[in-house]
């Protein structure tokens, strides 16, 4: 018997015993994130703020100062210039919304400066400021509604303690993802919000698997403490928690490293969020459930003598 049990438990991580460490790690990351948001804010994409992005294929190396001079000539106040491609022979210019004539003049100037043709304007994009704030509002509203609906569904499907733990872990996930984007000042646009919602839905996978196992084990291991039950459940399901995430990560990493920038915009937050989601199902959601359960038990013990009287 002993032998068989040993083969089932391939992992022996004492998750519950060190729950303070896991909570602290998340706490610190979120704290740094909040500080970054307060002191620097997000790097919003033009989806949300409105603005213009032009990308040129220059064809050889160049000095961004030359582009700066052209932009200054037209008194474009606020801009970002970024080299593109592994050889740095392309350029991306991000500005606030420009009037058509200014934009056309800038394109003409850059084209004549580097002997470019129309084909070398790889892409250009403009979003009006009012449309930007409309998209921002709409996207956040959608995210809020979706999150509420998802949470309601989870609440209906789990018992109270489990849904509370799952929901707290999910919200914590979102905070971690937002913190990473704030700290590294990565552009936040509509794909990022879509990715957050996807992470939300996907991380539930792992949490449900563990909680289902806890429920099974609660029936079998009647005499064990919640700590023990959660620990064994987490270790029993660790193999699949890791494997399910690996297959998704294979795809996401290839999307990130091989795919075009539009795919990277989706892949990056998903890589961070899904990895952290798998981690947090084990290291946050399960200890949280134990915490909630033990609190309840404590209350019951206090209540008991009162009942006896």
């Amino acid at each position: 018997m002993g032998h068989r049990e040993a083969s089932i438990l391939k992992f022996h991580v004492n998750v519950m015993g060190r729950s303070k460490i896991w909570f602290s790690i998340s706490g610190v990351i979120i704290l740094i994130g909040i500080l970054a948001i307060i002191f620097r804010g997000f790097s919003w994409g033009i989806d949300f703020t409105g603005g213009t992005i032009m990308e040129f294929n220059i064809g050889h190396s160049f000095d961004t100062k030359e582009i700066t001079q052209i932009l200054d000539k037209y008194k474009v106040g606020d801009y970002q210039i970024q080299k593109l491609g592994s050889k740095g022979d392309g350029v991306s210019i991000k500005t606030k919304v420009l009037p058509d004539n200014v934009r056309i003049s800038i394109i003409k100037d850059i084209e004549s400066k580097y002997n470019l043709t129309d084909k070398d304007l790889i892409s250009s994009q403009q979003v009006g400021p009012s449309l930007g704030s409309e998209i921002k509002f709409g996207t956040f509203l959608a995210a809020g509604i979706a999150a509420l609906l998802m949470l309601t569904y989870l609440g209906l499907r789990f018992n109270f303690e489990m849904s509370l733990a799952a929901v707290l872990a999910l919200i914590h996930n979102v905070f971690i993802l937002i913190s990473v984007y704030a700290v590294f000042h990565i552009t936040v646009d509509a794909p990022f919000i879509a990715a957050i919602l996807t992470v939300f839905g996907y991380s539930v996978h792992d949490t449900i698997i563990i909680f289902d196992r806890i429920r099974d084990n609660l029936k079998i291991m009647r005499k064990s403490s919640y700590d023990e039950i959660a620990n064994i459940s987490v270790n029993q399901t660790m193999g699949r928690s890791i494997n399910t995430v690996i297959t998704v990560l294979i795809m996401l990493l290839l999307m990130y490293f091989l795919g075009p920038s539009a795919l990277k915009d989706f892949a990056l937050p998903l890589i961070i969020g899904i990895t952290w989601g798998a981690y947090s199902s084990i290291f946050i959601a399960s200890p949280l459930w134990v915490l909630i359960k033990n609190k309840e038990k404590g209350k019951k013990v206090i209540n008991k003598p009162a009942k006896v009287q």
């Binding site: 129309d118 998802m150 509509a190 996907y202 297959t247 075009p260 539009a262």
Partner: protein
């Protein structure tokens, strides 16, 4: 039992191969043709290259004014000779225009956004009157027995005078009606018209009459449009983005297939067949729904492929455990399915909720993602319950391995 298992397994593979052949290559048997799914799936502008412009009508606009504005744009886009343009209304006062193959956004904005110019020109090339002189144009059926479709025109007082002069002068000759310098109709003058009410006859059908009337009205009371967003993707960027996405997808699928076999052996192979069938099903659904596949859509599709094997992993891990606990193979397969299904179901419903809200409320650049993700999640549940389950039972029937190691246990 054994032979039944083999028949089950190979019939699934055989049917999948036939469906794959029909879906990706198409059939042409006599007068019965099934075109490959490729022909039903449009690629987005970000993959083909082209210009997208979102125009907003200024001031208060009626639905009629919007349909006129769309007719004007369609008329101009037709003149540009762009293949497969998209011109649709968005919300109450916006028009989304997609012009594949165009590269210059400023030219597109210029062509789409300029105010409509309606002119009536005589055979001598001189302008008789302009849109400002036209009061109304309507498509009607003629009063007589024939019930022919026709367009009635009415002019304001100045227009009436100009038109009367012209029709007196050009009896028996054509007067051309031009919208934005493109001839939309060239009726021949039969009589001098002095009442300010004219009729254009000889139209093919009622639709042609409606189209013509709409264009004339559009020119008489033009809507002012303002571009509020545009995007242009160069002819080289789109196809290279497409190739990069396909590469990522193909390598990703290959690695996932290998991972599943390495980790789960025989069940892993079953999952690989199921994944193949899953991918075929997805493309067929895209074709049936006429999905426009853009880069966000590809992101959703690739993500859903990565997530699709999850269901199988959860089931197989359960299966391994049940086997190790000493259950018979058949009992282990059934237990694996039943116990794993709840977790899979709840997680997928949560994903579907998120996807549905994003699809209905999200901005243009996430709608495609939400759509392919929803299709993917729904079809992965379907393939897990039907295909994977059926195949695992087939293998149990085959009963050729007693060694549970081949199940990865």
């Amino acid at each position: 039992m054994r032979s039944r298992g083999f028949i089950k397994l190979f019939s699934v593979i055989f049917v999948a191969l036939i469906v794959a052949y029909v879906a990706f290559i198409g059939v042409n048997a006599g007068n019965y043709t099934i075109k490959p799914v490729e022909d039903y799936i449009r690629l987005g502008l970000d993959l083909r290259g082209g210009v997208y412009v979102l125009e907003e009508a200024q001031g208060n606009v009626t639905p009629d004014a919007m349909s006129k504005a769309i007719a004007v744009i369609r008329n101009r886009v037709d003149a540009l000779g762009v293949a497969q343009p998209v011109i649709v209304q968005q919300g109450s006062n916006r028009i989304r225009v997609e012009l594949p193959g165009m590269t210059d956004p400023d030219k597109a904005i210029d062509v789409i956004g300029k105010t409509a110019q309606l002119k009536f020109v005589g055979p001598d090339g001189k302008v008789i009157l302009t849109g400002a002189d036209v009061k109304d144009a309507k498509a009607v059926y003629s009063q007589g027995q024939m019930q022919e479709p026709e367009v009635t025109l009415s002019f304001n007082s100045e227009g009436t005078k100009k038109f009367a002069d012209a029709t007196q002068k050009f009896i028996g000759q054509p007067i051309s009606i031009l919208l934005d310098d493109k001839v939309i109709s060239a009726p021949t003058v039969r009589d001098a018209i002095t009442t300010g009410n004219a009729v254009i006859t000889g139209l093919k059908d009622y639709k042609e009459a409606t189209d013509l009337a709409t264009l004339i009205r559009a020119g008489s009371l033009p809507v002012t449009l303002k571009p509020i967003a545009y995007q242009s993707v160069g002819a080289t960027l789109g196809p290279s983005a497409y190739k990069a996405s396909v590469d990522a997808g193909v390598y990703g699928v290959i690695l996932i297939l290998l991972f599943m076999i390495a980790f789960y052996r025989l069940p892993g192979f079953v999952a690989d067949i199921a994944l193949g069938i899953y991918i075929i099903i997805n493309f067929i659904i895209y074709a049936m729904l006429n999905v426009t596949l853009d880069l966000p859509g590809i992101a959703g599709m690739l993500l859903s492929i990565g997530m699709a094997v999850d269901t199988n992993i959860i089931i197989f891990e359960r299966l391994k455990e049940e086997l190790r606990a000493g259950k018979s193979l058949r009992a282990a397969v059934d237990a694996g399915f039943n116990k794993a299904f709840r977790a899979v179901f709840d997680a997928n419903i949560t994903s579907l909720i998120g996807g549905a809200v994003l699809f209905y409320m999200g901005s243009g650049n996430v709608k495609g993602f939400a759509l392919t993700l929803m299709i993917g999640v729904a079809s992965s549940m379907f393939t897990a319950i039907t295909v994977t389950r059926f195949l695992l039972h087939a293998i149990v029937d085959m009963n050729f391995v007693k060694n549970i190691k081949i199940y990865g246990a």
